[in-house]
């Protein structure tokens, strides 16, 4: 959750004239903004999330209005004090011996103002305090909703997208909404009230001066427009160059060994320098152009300041306005430009927030898994045997490209099914279907004679144990990771499972033993060790049906001997689907499914398939004759 934009603390308006142009700040201005497709609908839906908090929101609104109103009123009162002082002084200068300073009157004004300021600050505090709860609770709910949704989405959704893509919706976009709710929303309210309030106050002082000030407005608009559109162009190129640079760095670092082995350091640095130079060019231009917005804005505002000083001065000299009012007016003018810039800024922020919200809502609107059989109707296998059968199953990831057509298999309890084929042959498809990660397009799959669609997904999946090639362990202790296989497993059972998986020994050599915490990428264990842990996890789960991947590329030779023994032990009395890499496994299997390009092209026993002389036979012979003798088969 990186801060995409700097925190601009919601500055309450008010306070006497803050001198000419506030330099600096607003570093993010002029950056390109993402736009929502359906602004109104998304906005309305986002508002819906705020509804439960509406009483608090109304309180926020009221306190915001009050604090702003008090703050806006104060410069005028302050001006009266100045006027009184000025009157006294003019009297003195004009040699009026009776001229006195109305000190008690000024004191009263001071007291009155002190009260105004106190109340204004108090309300402003209440408003921000309340908003903290409103914003965070809303986002809390939204986050949970997103997470729940992720739990209900079919695997199809996850397989079709990168993790980064999903994470960016669930994290960055939600975070964006949170920041906006926390800061920009109240800022928007106070800014709008300030603008209106200030205009009203200025009009009551002098319509003419107000006119002068309003004339400077189009000027600042032109300035912002011009600079913003130019800087957007540079920001875009900068972003593109940065992307290229990051890509290059990522590639070179992850291929560090290759770069070294092939002595390509110089080329790599040269390419980097090229991109870096271009990044520099677009980078400074983007910074420069966007950095000019503030000075230009403050110039416009200073020009307004000068005219008001001059024209106001003349008006006071002519007696058509009091000096205190001029002072107040100057303060109002100062207060005016800030909220204007802020509102322009917030408009961008809100646009990007709505775009974020839209992406989050898109995720929330994705089609969920087909609903489960209702609790009372659902089939529950109390003592699962593990007979698995497929009847006329049709399946394809896309409707127009069926991978499996009219497939019948019948596996009895305790039998072993070997799935073979070249890598990338789509062997996980079968796993996807058996565990109902994907729905079949036709036909049915039964376990112990019961259609899997009539079972609860949770129950169905609890019948299976899975040891896949990409081990998944979470950031926790080794004990917790093994215990993941069964809720409420005892210490003894965990150790027993680890022992059966030949993992106990290596675990005990770790300094913290079973309490060793796996780090984020679980990089403190080797691939093989991780594999052993997942086997222990499956052993503990004690499923009726196993899905194993003889993952030769991560666990090798010696450890593999252990693993194989453990797997053999595990497979006893269970129906097993093995994504096989070892010929011994394949040959002993009760049924071999040969897959290629995602479809099952042959099935049968080893002997049957060999006599068919098809793809399997080809595969088998090419392995053992070094590809020379039987090249004709291919």
């Amino acid at each position: 959750m990186n801060e995409s934009r700097g925190k601009t603390p919601g500055r309450g308006p008010g306070g006497p004239g803050m001198g000419p142009g506030m330099g600096g700040g607003m570093g993010g201005m002029g950056m390109p903004v993402q736009k929502a497709k359906n602004f109104k609908g998304t906005l309305r839906r986002l508002m819906g999330y705020l509804r439960p908090q509406r009483t608090k929101l109304i309180a926020v609104l009221i306190t915001a209005i009050l604090s702003t109103a008090f703050a806006i009123y104060s410069p005028k009162v302050l001006g009266e004090a100045t006027t009184k002082l000025f009157a006294g002084m003019m009297g003195k200068i004009q040699g009026d011996p009776n001229a006195t300073f109305d000190l008690p009157g000024i004191w009263q004004i001071v007291l009155f103002l002190a009260a105004l300021y106190l109340i204004s600050s108090l309300f402003s505090y209440i408003q921000q305090f309340l908003m903290a709860g409103v914003a965070q609770k809303t986002v809390y709910g939204l986050r949970n909703e997103v997470n729940d949704k992720l739990g209900k989405l079919p695997l199809k959704y996850f397989d079709g997208r990168t993790h980064g893509e999903i994470l960016s919706r669930a994290v960055n976009d939600v975070d964006n909404i949170s920041n906006t709710l926390q800061q920009s929303l109240t800022q928007l309210i106070t800014s709008l009230i300030t603008i209106i309030g200030v205009i009203v106050m200025m009009l009551t002082i002098s319509p003419w001066l107000t006119l002068i000030l309003l004339l400077t407005l189009p000027l600042s608009m032109i300035v912002i427009r011009g600079a913003a559109s130019r800087s957007q162009k540079y920001f875009k190129t900068q972003q593109a160059e940065l992307g290229q640079l990051n890509g290059h760095v990522e590639e070179m670092y992850s291929g560090h060994k290759i770069v070294k082995a092939y002595g390509q350091e110089e080329n790599s640095v040269a390419k980097f320098d090229g991109i870096n130079e271009r990044l520099y060019e677009s980078g400074w231009k983007a910074q420069f152009v966007s950095g000019n917005i503030m000075p230009l804005m403050s110039m416009v505002s200073n020009v307004g300041y000068v005219f008001i000083s001059v024209v106001g001065g003349i008006m006071v000299a002519k007696g058509s306005i009091t000096i205190g009012n001029i002072q107040a007016f100057i303060q109002y003018a100062r207060q005016f430009s800030m909220p204007l810039v802020q509102t322009a800024n917030i408009a961008n922020v809100i646009q990007s927030t709505i775009a974020s919200a839209e992406r989050v809502f898109e995720l929330l609107d994705e089609a969920e898994e087909i609903p489960e059989a209702s609790a009372d109707r659902a089939v529950i296998l109390a003592l699962p045997r593990g007979d698995v059968a497929m009847h006329g199953v049709n399946f394809g990831y896309k409707e127009d490209a069926m991978l499996i057509e009219n497939m019948d298999i019948d596996v009895r309890s305790g039998q072993t099914v070997a799935i073979v084929g070249p890598t990338g042959a789509g062997k996980t498809t079968l796993v996807n279907l058996l565990m109902r990660f994907y729905e079949v397009n036709g036909g049915s799959i039964t376990i112990d004679g019961a259609d899997i669609t009539r079972m609860k997904r949770g129950h169905l999946r609890s019948l299976f144990g899975m040891v896949l090639q990409d081990t998944w362990l979470f950031n926790g202790t080794i004990r917790d990771n093994i215990a993941y296989g069964r809720i409420g497993a005892t210490e003894g059972e965990i150790v027993e499972a680890a022992r059966a998986a030949h993992a106990d020994h290596f675990i005990r050599t770790l300094p913290e033993g079973y309490d060793t915490v796996l780090n984020e990428e679980a990089s403190n264990l080797s691939q093989g060790q991780k594999q052993l842990l997942t086997i222990a996890r499956a052993i503990l789960a004690d499923p009726a049906i196993l899905i194993l991947d003889e993952a030769t590329s991560s666990v090798d030779t010696r450890t593999e001997v252990h693993i194989q023994k453990a797997m053999h032990e595990l497979m006893k009395g269970r129906t097993s689907f093995v994504i096989a890499h070892r010929l011994s496994t394949i040959r002993d299997a009760d049924l071999i499914l040969v897959m290629n390009h995602g479809s099952i092209i042959e099935k049968g026993t080893h002997a049957e398939l060999l006599s068919q002389g098809g793809f399997y036979a080809d595969l088998y012979y090419s392995q053992f004759t070094g590809g020379s003798a039987k090249a004709s088969v291919g």
Binding site: P20, A261, L619, Q623
Partner: protein, 581 residues
Amino acid sequence: MLKLFRYLKPYRWAVAAVMALVLLQSLSELYLPTLMADIVNDGVVKGDTPYIWKIGGFMLAVTAVGTLVSIAASYLSARIAAGFGRDVRSKTFRKVENFSLLEFDKIGTASLITRTTNDITQVQSVLIMMMRMMVMAPMMCIGGLIMAISKDARLSLVFVGAIPVLALTIYLIASKGIPYFKAMQKKIDKLNLVLREGLTGIRVIRSFNRLEHESKRFEEANGDLTQTAIKVNQIMAFMMPMMMLILNFSSLAIIWFGGLRVSGGHMQVGDLMAFLQYAMQIMFSLLMVSMMFVMVPRASASAVRINEVLELQSSGTEQGAKPSAGEKKSAVSRYGEVEFDRVSFRYPGAENPAISDISFRSSPGEVTAIIGGTGSGKSTLISMIPRFYDAEEGTVRIDGVDVRDRSVEELRATVGLVPQKAQLFTGTVSENIRYGKNDASDEEVRYAASIAQASDFIEKLPEGYSSPVAQGGTNLSGGQKQRLSIARALVRRPSIYLFDDSFSALDFKTDAKLRAALRSETTDATVIIVAQRVSSVMDADRIVVLDDGRIAGIGNHKELMATCEVYREIVSSQLSEEEIA
């Protein structure tokens, strides 16, 4: 942070210029209220309209100068910050490119990437803010104080009261808030971790039916984060109202005490008005400084990480041990005999050596296979040949010369490494193959591809050899990537081939064809293969069986079957009876 700013040195004059310009800008901003005071004091009081116009014109001129100056400052600071970012980025990248594998692993790939990209960008953007705000703020503050004191020294005593109160308030709120900010960052990381785990392990979670458990974990992390976030924001809710209150009260104090001084005839009304504006500038500059305190720690964490990279002492493998020209010449040969002589190596900080007491010799035309269990040190062993690691004890020799006496560059040019993970780069297919030999001709590239069994699939690609390879080669299958990475090694026709389990992603058929083609291609070269499948090492001239970093047996298949228990175990796990015979 400051340490990193040593790289600002080339820009020191520009930085000085920015400071001077910002000072000028602050002065011009501060001068406006003074001029306004003149309008009030001399123009308004006396009713002198021409004077008012004159000063007004002057004010416009000051505004124009101020704007020009600040645009110039903005120009320079943009150039400085972008230039600084470019320099540090380039230095870091160069440094990392020269890291040996040991140094590289010390920090880790992911972390190095973040440091070279995000961290530097972060520091760069803070640098800009610093030059715009942090320089401006003290100038404004000091300038404002000088102007205020020059207008009325006694009234300036108000600041003596107000500034400490302001500073104290900022300090109190910040010291309460910052620990929460830190805690919040940790909780955000935790939440992300849970979410990411949920995504990567989705099949496992669903198959173990632990959705609810994961949901609970998420909700806990989420609730925890929300609590802290609310707390932080409630504390920060104090900030602005308190600031405004202090500012407003000090202006009230100025009006009241100033009023007293005006009534006593010690001060003019115009000066009082100007004084009010100075006060605001001083206070706001203090606020800006306080904002910097929030931003700087975040950037300084980045700066520390970058510094770590830049200051990492190189072990010397990469830079050191460049032999003199004469020696280098004598070392060059196209022969390629590899010899390990009682070689031991341990990773820094590791208790046990990764490999110990390894001795064997492999001559050109021979195939040596290395087989062994997880963590038995196979990959470490072959990494010693191109000097990714240097032996702790013993020597690795090529053609009788210690590898440490040869230049890394020249040594690696004789080696063709095919790593376990086929790593391709953005570019075209032929560019990827040419990575092995920059000046390879088209024929050479095609030939290498055909040996590697890659030409079939390459020619089927829409643009053949000019087809693009995406970052990390994601548009190719594992087997295709592996074949390209083999072609890359073949094209340089090295005298030593190192295959680090390079055939794992190939199906049986391609594997066999490739082996047959390789055999004729590598007759003059020394071939060292790390392998998993016994079937693929059975016909090697020499098989080295590693067990826990030690040699458990050396010999050909038959010999090992007779003598080596570990080897027999491996074989029996993979092959059935008749295949062993």
